[in-house]
Symmetry: C2
Subunit: 350 residues, 2 copies
């Protein structure tokens, strides 16, 4: 019998579940709306808003995937990637973008024991169930189905660039969870003491410089300085298209040779390179993977990151490679499936 | 039968081996000179200089400990802590302060396969043999015999302050080795880009500010500035005792209320606090232990470290405790013994 995993990505808008083979193929998929208020206007009455409704929809989705299992296959594990997810106790606590309602109290459900509920619902099956946050799941996905497959020592760092800057650390083949399950917060190491204000309440966090949002902040700062006042393509966007610039605009401009955009990415890369050099000095993986929207910029971002990494990293760690993620499509589902596969291994169910 | 471990500290001057019980007591000990040129003048002819001589002396020392084993005991493992020691291949390569000579070539022996030789020599015994560097061994010692014994999740960071600043990271109950066995270089994260020149060739490493040497550098910088020119006790040492100040002098002066010394430790603590906050954001242990000579200063050092840690660390990691090491005497031997105990567990020989 071939072992299959179900990987579930709990997003603010959609929940996506995929049935994943050992080779990392998604053989079937199922999607539903996570919560009513995030759904398109005409679908709101169909989307769940009560937490128990959400769980019922999730079971239906899992049942569907189990029912469509290939003939030679059996389900070995279910993995979930979700915001604020705690691996140790299997619950999502106070996730800012999840607003499920507790049916009894009528109030927002802060504490959601998803793993416990899934385990109880499928207690007749001999399966592993585990949950972690998105960046950790991405790191595990990279190890099982992406660029980490060829590693001799199962150590890697996954850096995810988006609205924020997340990270997942794999050491000795497992995620570094720390004592509270929330290790791997590379976005919140301070790279500029008393620097930019961060959403976490602190100042100078890497996230405020290295995320997509940070890139736009840096570009806007440069646009405000006299040296760059009028010459940049990004200025044209603001003046002619009457809108704010985006991270993609910066990347497009940089790839077209725009000086201000290139300077923006050099500043960004200096902080990301410093942050990665710091992380590598601590966990020393052979490879660091960068994932997320900004990687679409390509070499114009990667090259200066490598330059600054080499500047800041300890000599004998220079052989660590910084590369873009090789996670396949549906990265979040694949990461969750990899988490399940690893849990199956840890529990000796393989 | 009770399991005993032999912990061996390979130092530049002496090699110390101890027979350690499960409770962490050293029941017997054996010491010999590591290399002739480090020995006192009148003992040089007795100390080994050839690497094969060194190994013969090491075997004699191990044999002595095995011969003196308590009646109810049996040897389960041998652990070694040594500079530049590689856990994966069991060799010491090019350790700056070890100058053994290869008898065949007459030249310095760069590559020393200590673990392989011990395993061969004691192949009739069913024992685990492992080696790592001093800071990693100290971290494992803290976990098995020090302040880490009470931890629910076996995650901790050991920061060792001395001439340099070393560190060892325990995650999920094992040392974080990385792909090259040299992870845990907290001393070489850059805290001041283009700051003080470091022995590693880089600039602004934490070690240049946070080590005992860094503390003296900071005190001397302050002594050179006009504000502090004449008022400090440390100035008196230089003027009256005609000698350079030491890290201990700074600690003594600070504990006596000397303003310059207190400012020195505040600057030092800011960098150490930032470095620990960075490390905690990545591996999230419940406790961070500080080990080494400067800890004798006491609260005058620890209090500002905690202050700056709280300033720089991500909100939900503030419950991480920073404390002084609780490693017993012979910390290096105990760390090596703990490494052996952990290797016994990993190999299932327990």
């Amino acid at each position: 019998m071939e072992k299959y995993m179900i990987g579930i990505d709990v997003g603010g808008t959609n929940t996506v579940a995929g049935l994943v083979s050992t080779q990392g193929e998604i053989v079937d998929k199922c999607t539903f709306l996570t919560q009513r208020d995030m759904a398109p206007e005409d679908q709101r009455d169909k989307a769940p808003v009560y937490f128990d409704e959400y769980m019922e929809n999730l079971y239906k989705c899992i049942d569907h995937l189990i029912a469509n299992m290939p003939k030679d296959g059996e389900l070995a594990g279910i993995g979930l990637g979700a915001p604020n997810a705690n691996y140790f106790n299997g619950l999502i606590f106070d996730a800012p973008n999840l607003h499920w309602i507790d049916r009894t109290s009528g109030k927002r459900q802060l504490t959601c024991h998803i793993v416990k509920l899934i385990k109880e619902h499928y207690s007749s099956l001999r399966i592993a169930v585990a949950m972690t946050n998105d960046a950790n799941a991405a790191a595990m996905g990279e190890l099982y189905y992406g660029g980490g497959r060829s590693l001799v020592h199962k150590d890697l760092i996954e850096v995810t660039l988006g609205t924020g800057l997340g990270s997942g650390f794999i050491s000795n083949g497992d995620i570094v969870y720390g004592h509270n399950s929330f290790a791997g917060e590379l976005g919140h190491i301070v790279v500029v003491p008393d620097g930019r204000l961060c959403g976490c309440g602190n100042s100078g966090c890497l996230e405020t410089y290295g995320s997509a949002t940070g890139i736009v902040r840096t570009a806007n700062q440069l646009l405000a300085s006299s040296k760059w006042r009028d010459t940049s393509k990004l200025r044209e966007i603001i003046n002619n298209q009457k809108r704010e610039i985006s991270c993609k605009d910066v990347g497009d401009a940089a790839n077209a040779g725009d000086e201000l955009a290139l300077e923006t990415l050099d500043i960004t890369a200096r902080y990301i390179g410093l942050g990665i050099a710091t992380a590598v000095a601590i966990t020393a993986p052979k490879k660091v993977f960068i994932f997320g929207g900004p990687t679409k910029m390509g070499e114009v971002l990667l090259k200066p990151i490598r330059k600054y990494f080499n500047k800041f990293v300890l000599n004998n760690f220079r052989d660590t490679e910084i590369v873009f993620s090789e996670l396949p499509d549906d990265a979040a589902v694949m990461g969750a499936a990899a988490l399940a596969a690893n849990e199956v291994k840890k529990l000796g169910l393989d």
